[in-house]
């Protein structure tokens, strides 16, 4: 089962890049993003789907240091040992990471949490020594900061602190069909009423609650949704299917539209794990306000505006 799912996902990736120049590298990149490494079976699928020989694909995969044929840990730590970082004791930093993680460069910790590798340049030589963790750069790294960096990585570098981050704000959402509010005041996620939807996938049918904070990816659901599943979304009030005309710009799955109080449309990707979302403010959010002619607190750009708090 797992094997067949893997190969069908790989086939999808291959078809996407088949006609591109240098498509093989793009395919391998995407496969690596999905699995964190390049499984042997995926390389064989790429070879047979593109009509190239396995040795050609294998040659590309082993030529570029970016590709890994061994499973990697959850977090990838790359320590720069380029010339500029080297003269600023990059090697000491690498040694410190090795000691703290208890592994050598190029290895993965037994609990599959961290992979450590050394690279030859990360393109930020003036700010060396550079350490790259899960796509986040750390500059001027000192030996004493190593444990802190690892701690941050464990907590998740992509996590947004919803209480303090300026980019996060609550949105009030409605069903585009029946106009009922989708907010559930009895169920809080991130200390705000959650957005309640009904979803169905693989003959399962249940509720899904999303954080109503724009920018937060926290969800709760009745059933565990496997990664990469594309679910169908329904309004819990009118039971109409929420399906938009557009497809996800990242993964091509259908987008789920919901309207914002005051005008505007938020679309989220229906694929589990894909964090893609868009917000179109058809008109500015103040367009429906009765006080708009006299208001001094007009907010013509995006977002949700609780002007009553300022009056």
């Amino acid at each position: 089962m797992k094997e067949s799912r893997l190969s069908s996902a790989t086939e999808e990736i291959v078809q996407k890049h088949e006609n591109e120049l240098g498509g093989v590298i793009a395919m391998l990149e995407e496969i690596q993003l999905q699995h964190s490494y390049l499984p042997e079976s995926a390389l064989k699928t790429v070879a047979s789907e593109t009509g190239r020989s396995l040795v050609e694909i294998y040659g590309v995969a082993t030529f570029y240091k970016y590709f890994s044929l061994k499973p990697r840990g959850e977090h990838l730590v790359s320590v720069c040992l380029g010339t500029a970082c080297h003269v600023r004791q990059g090697a000491l930093i690498a040694k410190e990471f090795e000691d703290q993680l208890g592994i050598r460069a190029g290895e993965t910790t037994p609990d599959k949490k961290f992979s450590l590798e050394t690279v030859n340049c990360l393109g930020a030589c003036a700010r060396g020594p550079i350490v790259l963790v899960d796509g986040h750069y750390f500059s001027n790294v000192k030996k004493t900061q190593v444990s802190q960096i690892l701690k941050k990585a464990r907590e998740g570098l992509d996590a947004i602190d919803v209480t303090t981050d300026q980019r996060v704000f609550p949105v009030k959402l409605r069903c585009p069909h029946c106009n009922h509010s989708l907010l559930d005041p009895n169920y809080l996620i991130d200390n705000h009423p959650a957005v309640r939807l009904t979803i169905s996938f693989a003959s399962k049918h249940g509720w899904l609650r999303l954080s109503s904070l724009y920018g937060s990816n926290n969800i709760k659901s009745e059933y565990e949704i496997p990664m990469n599943t594309i679910a169908d979304f329904f309004c819990p009030h009118c039971h109409a299917e929420l399906v938009g005309s557009s497809a996800c710009p990242v993964c091509n799955a259908p987008m789920v539209p919901m309207t914002i109080y005051g005008g505007g449309l938020i679309q989220i990707c229906s694929r589990r794990g894909c964090k893609s979302h868009t917000m179109d403010l058809v008109n500015s959010i103040c367009i429906n306000c009765d006080n708009r002619h006299t208001c001094k607190l007009m907010k013509p750009e995006g977002g949700v505006w609780f002007c009553e708090e300022y009056i």
């Binding site: 042997e40 390389l43 020989s53 396995l54 040795v55 050609e56 694909i57 294998y58 040659g59 082993t62 030529f63 570029y64 240091k65």
Partner: protein
């Protein structure tokens, strides 16, 4: 037809002829390792380099990949060419000293010392076997893997390839790896021993299975015990 001068001798060649073919046609000896008639030129070993151009635009190019140009002046044995060639042979000698082919080359070009760290590789990464497999055998079972000092030739994942038909073509064209059939200790190796490859193993049943690139030669395996 293209007119060019090789070592001062004017000659006419067809369009698309390489400098190596033109020089050999005129009888000038140009040593090669990776070049082989019937395979695409690859320019990997650099032994065939020649000097082209005049005045400040003199440069060294690999003659096996360089197409003949109108009015080109080619020197196949100038002082600079010989010096570069000797250096290449010295480097090859450092990596694969046990190869009879390379020993002969060193002797022919009067290379008497080898100043680099001695290695005992059995491959100079010339790519002849890769091209043989791809172009003549239509198999694409072996290829280059890795990069830089980790570059090697072999099958994906180091397991016997499904494409491989055990034709043995890769071993047949290899200019260096003859040693594999003789000894496991490179220091004691005397080259040319592979000439007896077929004698001990031809009667063995497993002969069909072992004429494959990745396996160690069965001839030595059998003579050992």
């Amino acid at each position: 037809m293209i007119t060019l001068k090789i070592n001062g001798l004017e000659t006419n060649v067809e369009k698309g002829t390489t400098l190596l073919e033109a020089a050999r046609f005129l009888g000038f000896p140009v040593p090669t390792l990776c070049h082989m008639d019937g395979l695409h030129p690859f320019g990997a070993c650099r032994l065939c380099l020649v000097e082209i151009g005049e005045g400040p635009r003199i440069k060294l190019v690999s003659s096996c990949t360089y197409p003949a140009e109108e009015g080109l002046h080619v020197r196949t044995a100038s002082r600079r060419v010989m010096r570069a060639r000797k250096m290449i042979i010295e480097l090859l000698l450092a990596s694969s000293p046990q190869s009879k082919t390379i020993q002969d080359l060193a002797s022919a070009f009067d290379v008497k010392q080898q100043r680099f760290r001695q290695e005992f590789e059995d491959c100079i990464l010339c790519g002849r076997c890769v091209h043989m497999c791809e172009e003549q055998m239509m198999a694409k079972a072996i290829g280059f893997r890795g990069r830089g000092e980790n570059r090697s030739i072999g099958t994906p994942f180091d397991v016997q390839s499904e494409e491989c038909r055990l034709c043995g073509g890769c071993m047949y064209v290899c200019p260096v790896c003859m040693l594999r059939c003789t000894y496991t200790e490179p220091e004691k190796a005397i080259c040319g021993g592979c000439a007896n490859l077929s004698v001990p193993c031809i009667e063995k049943e497993q002969f069909d299975d072992v004429m494959c690139y990745m396996e160690p030669c069965v001839a030595c395996e059998i003579t050992k015990d």
